[in-house]
């Protein structure tokens, strides 16, 4: 019959010398008192450090750059919510934020996560300069893999048009999508035409729309119909139609 030492082989409490029991009670009381005398911990906001260089990150990733990139973006994403304190995105140093996002993209160029964070999180702060910085970051990174990153630049184009009220910037982004992202959705590739139309550049819009229909790039019958109607409206009016005014 096995015995379970330590579980059943125990002597009674009377076997413990009173001095040991008193010492245990006293030291426990002392510990409680000591803790009670200590000030409560206070939360301190830590500034975002500069991003490590990519070579170091690759070495530290032990051959798993994708995992390292994921940890990097999650660290950055969680940085605004440090233990016991919440830092508004607006208070972050955006040069450093850009550095972290760029490092994550260098480790995993096919990931859209850093660009999503740039356009949807850090680009939403009420600071025009920071919004522009994030859009420029997305624009610069778009060229690494245009067919994979176009949707984030499209978001920035819409942001530039409606929030920044910078039609020229929106047109630049939309043009780059049309020219470089051949696999982008039709709406993103056609965005350039509608921006031109809204800018009053109806002639350019008409030429582009006509070209788009003539190449046969659009195959969906409903979309062809819609665009044909738009082209006809442009040719008839020669300027922006009511539909365009109510589109966005």
């Amino acid at each position: 019959m096995p015995t379970f030492a330590g579980l059943t082989d125990e002597r009674t409490l009377r076997a413990v010398p009173p001095a040991v029991s008193i010492m245990l009670a006293l030291t426990l009381a002392l510990q409680l008192l000591w803790h009670g005398l200590q000030p409560s911990p206070t939360a301190h906001a830590e500034a975002l450090p500069a991003a490590p260089d990519t070579i170091s990150l690759r070495a530290a990733s032990f051959g798993e750059p994708i995992a390292a990139a994921q940890i990097l973006v999650l660290y950055l994403q969680a940085f605004d919510n440090q233990p016991g304190i919440s830092i508004p995105f607006l208070d972050l140093d955006y040069d450093r934020v850009t550095g972290w996002l760029a490092a994550a993209l260098q480790l995993d160029p096919h990931s859209g996560y850093p660009l999503m964070m740039a356009s949807q999180l850090y680009g939403q702060v009420p600071d025009v300069r920071k919004q522009r910085a994030m859009c420029e970051f997305v624009h610069a990174q778009f060229f690494i893999a245009p067919d994979e990153h176009w949707r984030w630049l499209a978001h920035c184009a819409i942001m530039a048009k409606h929030r920044l009220k910078d039609q020229a910037l929106a047109l630049r982004y939309a043009t780059d999508i049309t020219r470089n992202a051949s696999k982008a959705s039709g709406w993103a590739r056609q965005m350039r035409i509608f921006i031109l139309e809204d800018m009053g550049e109806t002639e350019s819009a008409r030429v582009l729309l006509g070209g788009l229909l003539a190449t046969g790039e659009i195959t969906d019958p409903s979309e062809v119909n819609f665009l044909t109607e738009r082209l006809q409206a442009l040719e008839l009016t020669g300027k922006s139609s009511p539909a365009s005014k109510s589109r966005h």
Binding site: G6, A15, V20, Q31, L32, D53
Partner: protein, 254 residues
Amino acid sequence: MHITTIGKYTAIEAVRTRVPVMALLVLAALLGASFFIRELAVTETIRFQTGFYATAARLCAVFLVSLYVLASITREFNDKGLDVLLALDVPRAHYICGKLAGFMLTALVVAVIVSLPLWALAPTAAAWMWTASLFVELALVVALSLFCIVTFNQLLPAAGFVAAFYLLARSLTAMRLMSAHPVAGEDTLSHQVTGLFVESLAYVMPALDRWTETAWLVNAAPEAGVLLVIAVQGAIYLALLTAATLFDFHRRSL
């Protein structure tokens, strides 16, 4: 007299089982790795090297000392050496205190050995305070390991408890802060119960995250008062763990 003798032979056992040699090997391996890290960094190279070495050395020292205490006492239990010793005229308290003294001496040697490179990498005052704090931390880990192995008798549960306790003690302050300032659901019952539990834990556990900080080495050495607080908390907790070990050991039927 018994305490001194038991302590002396415990320290000799540590030397014969090559604990100081292991500490030197840890030093060599981590120092080599830290030079590699230093070569990778393009700026703040010394800061990178010091930060890596200090963090890794602290963890390795805790692991080494804790495992040594657990293995040593387990061997003593299995070899029936303890039964023979207690059959002699040796009070149980003397055995525990002697063992603790020997293990603490071992912890001091390990703390000094693994700290050696930091005397060259960091300012002297910072290195001194870091070494002293590491010794107090290792002494506490020694007492905790002794308590666990006496209480649980088996290596696996004892090692698991020590690891869990150490990790919790290192993260308890962050848990308290998160619990005190939640992002959402502050008024829910579950949050209030969790908050109470975390605060209660803080009463009976030392906040090890404020001990042996790498920031002392790479930023600025703390004021002497910080070390005093660590020493007082260490002494209180060491006495508490010793009392708990004695309590359990006196109840043990050999």
